[in-house]
């Protein structure tokens, strides 16, 4: 990629392109204890997340679905990042990830990670204590902050995950407020 493509390289970095090409942990998970569908009515993207949770820890995680490169890579990298994590670690990671892709200041109170006020407060605390470090490879999504229309692509799988953990089955909620102008017209 060259010439006038610099900004796009920030969005479509090699790691993201790689996970889009070869999604990890793709497919159904037999014996899942939790699952939920994330659906984005604005673009028709759909991702289903499967989990096997034991004693508060994600033992196995997989996903399947149809989506853009950002949502596919995000789901794939989420599954890699969360295997073996405790639910508490999962909450904190989502809060950090959410702050990253929405361009929210680290440790700011504006995340909409949606695990409830308590989790937000903890996430803010962990961010302040260097929570961004736990993002690891997920930091590849920093470029999404420049593309408000694509935030919901990056968070779709995470919302499905959240939904799976909360209810075990219900459809995931989208970002509470779509960015301005995101309403589909003809």
């Amino acid at each position: 990629m060259s010439g006038g493509f610099g900004e796009l390289q920030d969005l479509y970095g090699e790691v993201i392109l790689d996970h889009n090409r070869r999604p990890r942990n793709f497919g159904r998970l037999p014996g899942a204890s939790h699952s939920a569908v994330g659906y984005n009515p604005l673009c028709g993207d759909r991702v289903e997340v499967y989990l096997r949770v034991e004693q508060g820890r994600i033992e196995e995680i997989a996903f399947e679905g149809v989506g853009c490169a950002i949502s596919t890579a995000s789901a794939s990298m989420m599954t890699e990042a969360l295997r073996g994590k405790s639910l508490e670690e999962t909450r904190r990671l989502f809060a950090s990830f959410h702050a990253l892709v929405t361009g929210a200041p680290a440790g700011g109170g504006s995340t909409r990670a949606g695990f409830g006020g308590e989790a937000r407060a903890e996430a803010a605390g962990s961010s302040a204590a260097g929570g961004a470090l736990e993002l690891g490879k997920l930091a590849a999504f920093a470029g999404v902050g420049e593309y408000p229309m694509r935030v919901k692509c990056a968070t779709l799988a995470w919302h499905a995950l959240q939904s799976a953990l909360q209810s075990g089955a219900a459809a995931a909620q989208l970002e509470p407020e779509p960015p301005p102008g995101s309403k589909e017209t003809s």
């Binding site: 990629m1 006038g4 493509f5 900004e7 796009l8 969005l11 479509y12 392109l17 889009n20 090409r21 604005l42 673009c43 028709g44 993207d45 759909r46 149809v66 989506g67 853009c68 490169a69 950002i70 596919t72 593309y147 694509r150 692509c153 589909e184 017209t185 003809s186």
Partner: protein, 436 residues
């Protein structure tokens, strides 16, 4: 069903005679550079590159004449309309009624009273669904049927679903064939003595298909039903003549014909409008108001409650004047050439699939890039300064029929150039490289 694919380049939108002369033309019959200079917004860069605006089916840009007409109204003669005796009120009222006359001439209606100003196509269709569909003399009863097509935009589908649900009527859907054309044989079969309303897009916003409205109108009228035409994607590209089309209602939006957003028009046959009750109450739509009851103004005022979008109507008229001065036939011929060139260039790229291959098409081209989601296509193109639409285009049921979650759509306007189409093709090749 499988996705309609393009095997042959589409024919141009306008009358067949014009098509031949457009084949291979390098420029429209009007001065393209001067026309582009009429649209101030086009002269900008996006991400450091010249803007290439190929999202005209979503909304088109505005010529200076429209901006000036709107500014002129506010600057020189603005007042509320239809209810003042003072000079400014008269000027504003006259200008708005002149705009109605401009719309009348644009769609070929018999009388200006057949033109109702609305906020856009969506409101126009909702007006018909509410007033005609629920009227004491015209409304649907349980068991009645409404016929729509598989290629309708949500705005020509959901209002009918709401109506059917409320009235216990049923909604029937005319399928499309693999080219993306209406299955007219199925249409004939689905028309029944219970059919009361048929709602059809003149031009599909996803496939570009031009539907045979006149033929459909004939079938519909033989069954005693009425035909509602969604003209949102047709009005910018085709000469619209409601008398020739034979439709009962025709709706279009200002913002897609180079006019302002928030304004549009509904044509309704005079005797139908006369039989329809108001759908919104308020000022301007009454004849006499008493607490015991109110009598209503004749059409079109009956359907225009409240202070209207005054400058919008005036801006819309300026846009229609601009379009008719260039000549809709000249515009259609040029856009047909752009479409044909785009189909040829994109169709030649390995892994690119064109969606829709109707024999009569206008204005736009939907396509898929193998292995790349349309949103990623759209984002990469944006990075190269090219504005296209990616998504389901408010036609989710059609996406299901096509078995795709979404498409990328390039849509053309009178100011687009062959060079821009070349840039689009080069950018799509770039997309293939990035996601290879």
């Amino acid at each position: 069903m499988s996705q309609p694919t393009t095997s042959a380049p589409p024919r141009a939108a306008a009358g067949g005679a014009a098509t031949a002369s457009a084949a291979g033309a390098a420029a429209p019959s009007y001065d393209l550079e001067r026309v582009r200079a009429d649209f101030p917004l086009l002269a900008q860069t996006i991400h450091g590159r010249p803007l290439i605006y190929l999202d005209n089916a979503a909304s088109s840009q505005k010529p200076r004449a429209v901006l000036e007409a709107i500014a002129g109204c506010y600057r020189d003669y603005y007042a509320n309309v239809g209810r003042g005796v003072h000079r400014l009120a008269q000027l504003a009222t006259t200008a708005r009624e002149r705009a109605r006359e401009t719309v009348r001439a644009f769609v070929g209606a018999a009388a200006a009273e057949e033109i109702v100003f609305v906020s856009g196509t969506t409101e126009a269709i909702n007006l018909v669904a509410h007033s005609y569909g629920r009227g004491r003399r015209t409304g649907l009863a349980a068991g009645d049927e409404v016929l729509v097509t598989a290629m309708e935009h949500h705005s020509n589908l959901v209002p009918w679903q709401l109506l059917c649900e409320e009235r216990g009527a049923s909604l029937r859907v005319v399928p499309i064939d693999r080219r993306g054309e209406l299955d007219l044989a199925a249409f004939r079969r689905l028309l029944s003595p219970r059919t009361r309303i048929v709602a059809v897009a003149h031009v599909s916003n996803v496939l570009g298909t031009i539907n045979p409205v006149a033929e459909i109108a004939d079938l519909v009228h033989r069954r005693g039903a009425v035909l509602v035409v969604d003209g949102a994607q047709a009005a910018p590209h085709l000469t619209v003549d409601v008398a020739m089309l034979g439709c009962d209602f025709y709706a279009f939006s200002g913002h897609k014909v180079y006019g302002p957003s928030g304004i549009g028009a509904l044509y309704g046959r005079a005797e139908l409008l006369a039989a329809m009750p108001p759908w919104q109450g308020g000022g301007g739509m009454i004849e006499q108001v008493r607490f015991e009851g109110t009598t209503y103004a004749p059409p079109p005022q009956r359907f225009e409650a409240g202070t209207p979008n005054i400058e919008g109507a005036i801006g819309l008229a300026a846009a229609l004047d601009y379009l008719t001065t260039l000549g809709l036939n000249a515009v259609a011929v040029w856009e047909g050439r752009l479409l044909q060139w785009a189909a040829e260039r994109l169709g030649a790229i390995p892994g690119v699939q064109l969606v829709g291959s109707a024999r009569e098409r206008a204005g736009l081209l939907s396509f898929l890039v193998e292995g790349v989601h349309p949103h990623d296509v759209g984002t990469v193109l944006d990075g190269l300064g090219i504005a296209v639409r990616a998504g389901h285009h408010c036609a989710q049921p059609l996406m299901e029929v096509l078995e795709v979650p979404a498409t990328t759509r390039a849509s053309f306007g009178l100011y687009n150039t062959l060079d821009e189409v070349d840039a689009l093709a080069a950018a799509v090749e770039r997309v293939r490289e990035v996601f290879a």
